[in-house]
């Protein structure tokens, strides 16, 4: 049996939330309200930190409800869930920022938690001073930082400005500096909240790469993220939280599948009733759906073809129609517009048809894509049907795809067969080469 780095038993955490105050309707009651104002304030403030033995009022919120799990030494555990599922609260309790209401946690090893980058940065201090400040706050000793200072400065790439007060930094420089400190933490257990969402992409990659090195070296890591790609790439095991409870515990792939299926609105099927369907008496778009190669899967890998189909009703006596769709990425960038080209009335005429298409494998980069518009056009002029927000799907990278590159490479496209060739020139004379 391998050693447990973290054991969580029956962990619960309760908060008090604010309640709406009753509106006063008469002048008299308003007056009373004002007189009682300090007393009420006092009561509310006291209540923030005190709880009666048994209390289950409307203003109690259980952010965590009886969590039980263990993390093995060296394991990288991902924690996913919607906003408000209790992820951040769990990390806060684990990093001892707030104490639990019930339950117990045992942690073996030195913990560093990274819930924010640049904690403790003071704008008036120089970059160098802030490295020490931030480093000690994250649990390093002065001696450790002394030893790593040069590497931290090099990693940040802002050596020139390291003796300038941080307030004169651009926000990007601040993030770089903060990340560099964080990347040189050396704990046995690392707790990371979604801090990797900031910083420019180039630098993010550098940090994630560093993080992967660390995790390979047998560090225990707890990692909260909304970024399914990062979770898929970094984690050995993933748990899903929902309203303070653990609802799933398993491999990254299974967890992401469950999560996308149950908690995220990825539209894999869109259907309309005949009456409500977009269109007119000439043609209607009745629906669309994605076709997955494996049953029970709800995402694609980059090396899979993405198949989908549209269901169309038409009543065309003469003329030709075509179907066009728009594909956008998560930033709303239009990736492509494809059309069927003219379909003659003989081909579909009067009745129902299925029009299917696909996007070849190894073209789209990992990410979330949406077929956000489809049009049925008659004779290249009249729009018969127009539907928005049809299908949304997730493309995940293959784990083996990017060894050493854990962060997403920028760009909408990701080619697999890039046919790079490297030829060394025989001559060393530049004139000859030209």
């Amino acid at each position: 049996m391998s050693e447990k780095a973290i054991v969580v038993k029956g962990l619960s955490k309760r908060y008090r939330i604010g309640l709406e105050e009753k509106k006063q309707e008469t002048f008299g009651s308003q007056l009373w309200y004002w007189i009682g104002y300090p007393i009420r304030n006092f009561r509310n403030l006291v209540k923030l930190s005190t709880f009666r033995k048994i209390e289950d009022g409307r203003d109690i919120h259980w952010a965590l409800k009886g969590l039980n799990f263990e993390v093995e030494k060296g394991q990288v555990l991902g924690i996913i869930g919607k906003n408000g599922a209790g992820k951040s609260t769990l990390l806060k309790v684990l990093s001892r920022i707030t104490s639990p209401t019930e339950g117990e946690i045992r942690i073996r090893g030195k913990v560093s938690s990274l819930l924010e980058v640049g904690t403790g940065f003071h704008p008036d201090l120089t970059g160098r001073d802030n490295i020490y400040m931030n480093g000690t706050i994250l649990g390093m000793t002065k001696k450790e930082i002394d030893g790593k200072l040069e590497r931290i400065i090099d990693f940040s790439g802002i050596r020139k400005y390291v003796d300038t007060p941080v307030k004169r930094y651009s926000s990007g420089m601040k993030v770089r500096l903060a990340f560099s400190v964080a990347a040189h933490l050396d704990p046995e257990i690392l707790i990371i909240d979604e801090v990797l969402a900031v910083g420019d992409a180039e630098f993010q990659k550098k940090c994630l790469g560093k993080l992967q090195d660390e995790s390979i070296k047998g560090r225990t890591v707890l990692f909260v993220s909304h970024n399914m790609e990062a979770v898929q790439n970094l984690c050995d095991r993933v748990i899903i939280l929902k309203e303070g409870e653990m609802v799933f515990d398993g491999s990254p792939e299974d967890s992401i599948k469950t999560y996308l299926r149950e908690y995220i609105n990825t539209n894999h099927v869109k259907k309309w009733d005949f009456e409500a369907a977009p269109g007119n008496d000439k043609a209607k778009l009745l629906g669309s759906e994605l076709i997955f190669t494996e049953a029970n899967r709800n995402f694609f890998f980059t090396n899979e073809q993405i198949e989908f189909r549209f269901r169309v009703w038409s009543n065309i006596e003469s003329g030709r129609i075509d179907l066009t769709y728009h594909l956008r990425d998560e930033l709303g960038i239009l990736v492509l517009v494809e059309s069927t080209g003219f379909i003659s009335d003989e081909q579909i005429g009067n009745g129902y048809s299925i029009i299917s298409s696909s996007i070849p494998k190894n073209i789209l980069n990992q990410g979330t894509y949406t077929i956000d518009m489809a049009l049925l056009v008659l004779n290249r002029g009249t729009v018969l049907a127009k539907a928005k927000d049809l299908l949304t799907f997730e493309i995940l990278p293959l784990k083996s795809d990017e060894l050493g590159w854990v962060a997403k490479k920028e760009g909408v496209l990701k080619l697999r067969d890039t046919a790079w060739k490297i030829n060394k020139e025989e001559s060393t004379d530049i004139r000859e080469i030209n």
Binding site: Y15, L45, V46, L48, S49, K92, V93, L94, S95, R96, I97, T98, S99, P100, T101, E102, G103, E104, I105, R106, I107, R108, G109, K110, V111, S113, L115, E116, T119, G120, H122, D124, L125, D129, Y132, M133, T136, I137, L138, G139, M140, T141, K142, P165, E188
Partner: protein
Amino acid sequence: MQREIETRIRPEKGWKLIDLNELIRYRDLLYFLVIRGIKAKYAQSVLGIGWAIIQPLFATGVFTVVFGNLAGIESDGAPYAVFAFCAMVPWGYFSATLTDASQSLVTNSGLLNKVYFPRIILPLSAAFSKLLDFFIAFIVLAFFLIFFGIRPGIEVLFVPVLICILLTTSLGLGMILSAMAVQYRDVKHASSFMIQLLLYAAPVVYPASKVPSDWLFVYSLNPMVGVIEGFRSAFLSTREMPWEMILPGGVVGLCLFVFGAFYFKRLERVFSDVA
């Protein structure tokens, strides 16, 4: 191989002692917070640390004119300026520490919510970073003494005792107020003018000998009374070491410190929830 640390996290209940071992582990953080406090305070100012001299000097100047000359308050035989400045040295430390320490948790609530460390470090660092100003004020006092040709007596040897009382009192109150301020922001509003008023509850602008002897015991329960009068005795030789004031004040100071430490530790667990 380093010894493995095992941490147990469970709901905390009741009154607990401050964990000294942990505090020692985090001493570097304390050090850098103190440095940060000092550097940040004087950053981007022309006079920089010079303000630590100017502030008590100007206050002393005003006191000398208003209380020494206009109101004619006696000063136990010493020149009024040095009489007042001698009190301004500990009083300045006390008021600056209290102001800073009481707000230390609120102004650093960002830290409280994002990272764990013994919270006591925040008021501690506020108290320590004020020691520099305190030290500078001492040097200025030395110049005063030379200028007026006053020679401190053998009582100077008791100054460390007085400083201990000053520190425990400032820190004790600092811990209590900072912990309260997290939950009740009233502390911020109250403490700024309370500190101004408290100036008159201590013998800063007048000598303690003015206080009716019936009230002297109650008066000297204020730890600052013994400290200030003790400073005057040590440096100005205006009187004998006033042990009858220092002892009750010292006991109160110690009580404040011990209570403050427990109170702080008790409230510590809710800081991040209510800050």
